[in-house]
Symmetry: C2
Subunit: 320 residues, 2 copies
């Protein structure tokens, strides 16, 4: 069977099944947004990696600086979702030999700008000649043992929350596809995503969150991932979603679709016990979009409950 027939999530599950575990691996491959290691110290060490490519991940309208920013931000977002403090980033860059040095420098400036904005540093990397610009970043972070938030802690009755607004990246992508002129602000949602590092750390510190992950693959797919991890279900309400406001040239339905199914929003999805909602709100601005139930993943639209499809961003073009 070919990789394209199997799909990304099934492939990851096969890969994870082949890897040897160990006692000091608190979360291993395929289990969470980051791997979590116990090196014996007071804090856990978290590590996460993400590879991006020119053709699939960087629309031609992106500047070098935005490419650098994005390459760091995708990794910081994974740390944010575990409540971790970022420590360092390394970046392996595959660069076509005919690339202008000035462009590479712009990319590096964007990497540095994103890392430093969230208290991290780009501390190392690798450069390699490649036919397509390829950015493989790895972020390292730490979190106090008792504050680590996993994907799998949600319990029926918890409130389902998100940071920020939804659909911004998807709306921008749709506008680019249709060649609709959009504002710099709309494009920024797609090209310069904000990793929710400070929100993630504050939420972890508030001890109010039972499960958390980022929604960079889209809200729907992330709810399915969190459901599988924690053996719980979700009911969310379309009317409660913090959908991005009016975008010129796009219909309300399209923005709603982007908010639920598009990838690229780097917001946090998390669950909170109802009595701790106040503590969570103190830690971060948030929107309650639904509740954790025993099983099934549903969205309420106009008074009707529908099953929420596992549709969103996936490599290799299919879902398992």
């Amino acid at each position: 069977m070919k990789v394209s027939e199997l799909g990304e999530r099934a492939l990851i599950s096969r890969i994870a099944g082949l890897l040897t575990g160990a006692d000091n691996v608190v979360a291993g491959a395929g289990e969470d947004d980051c791997a979590v290691l116990d090196a014996g110290g007071e804090d856990y060490i978290l590590i996460t990696t993400d590879m991006l490519h020119r053709k699939t991940d960087f629309p031609p309208q992106m500047t070098g600086e935005q490419i650098g920013w994005m390459s760091v931000a995708v990794n910081l977002s994974d740390l944010a979702s575990k409540g971790a403090r970022p420590l360092g980033i390394v970046m392996a860059m595959g660069i076509p030999p005919d690339t202008e040095v000035e462009f590479v420098e712009d990319v590096v400036r964007g990497m540095d700008r994103c890392a430093t904005a969230y208290g991290a540093r780009v501390v190392g990397g690798d450069t390699d000649s490649h036919n397509e610009l390829t950015m493989a970043g790895t972020a390292l972070g730490t979190v106090k043992r008792e504050l680590l938030i996993r994907r799998n802690g949600a319990r029926a009755g918890d409130m389902v929350c998100v940071t920020g607004s939804l659909g911004g990246a998807g709306a921008a992508l749709l506008a680019l596809d249709r060649k609709i002129p959009v504002s710099r602000e709309v494009l920024k949602a797609l090209f310069e995503p904000v990793p929710r590092i400070f929100e993630g750390m504050a939420l972890a510190g508030s001890r109010s969150v039972t499960a958390m992950m980022d929604i960079s693959d889209g809200l729907a797919l992330s709810l399915h991932d969190m459901s599988r991890a924690g053996s719980v279900g979700f009911r969310i309400y379309e009317s409660k979603l913090p959908v991005v406001p009016y975008v010129k040239g796009l219909k309300k339905d399209e923005l709603l679709e982007a908010a639920v199914f598009s990838g690229g929003d780097f917001e946090l999805l998390f669950t909170v016990a109802p009595e701790k909602l106040g503590a969570a709100r103190k830690a971060s601005s948030l929107t309650v979009i639904g509740e954790v139930i025993d099983e099934g993943i549903f969205i309420e639209r106009g008074g009707r409950l529908e099953e929420l499809e596992a549709r969103g961003y996936e490599h290799f073009g299919r879902l398992d």
Copy 2:
């Protein structure tokens, strides 16, 4: 100017100049084999990344398992050179969609086999659709603060040493290029390099080593890197080099050339104060190949001292 005109080492130096430093970054980008971070604990945290590609790094004769092994080994070798204990590996894999799943599984088996052989675990990764198989690995390790060995500690009068033998990988590559049939053992030197993790840790523990790095870019280039890092020079002796024994179809001169200038040998190059040579020998088998001098990099061949060129393996095809 294009990247190909600038060359890899000059590019890295430009990139490093654009990055913001910090007090907790003990060694940053471009400064050593690994980045070294001070997270406040008893040990330093080390991180290193390496990106490999199908066309440039994996000859067609390599099996999937060997590709996986190599992708982990290049990163472990960087940890070894700082005396670090490996903790975890993450691997971002860019995979062509028409790849057989069985092949990917073989690659993962090789990754797992190499990691576990040296006390590490593959703890996470990323899969991504890409036109060429691309493996971007990152290794994480720790070392006691007082045992960290840098590239820059060599002092005039120290002995220059290497682990293992030299030229094995280069000889295998030459044989493949010329379609000379060679033994499985010879190919193994190229396809399944041994990262010197145990030797590196033992040498660090012996407190006898003043500077260390790996020679995966070749002995000559590594001597130049170590010279620049420590502002010292080297005199090595051709007659003392532990060149791989006779390889069918290759001349003695070709093996010597491979030992000095070819990349791919994952041995450690290190310097030891003469009075500590006994302690170093107890920690690891080694060969003394020369001594540290004030400046210049020379090789003695047949009684004549020659300057040793900075020639070896470099991406983007030129040296600065």
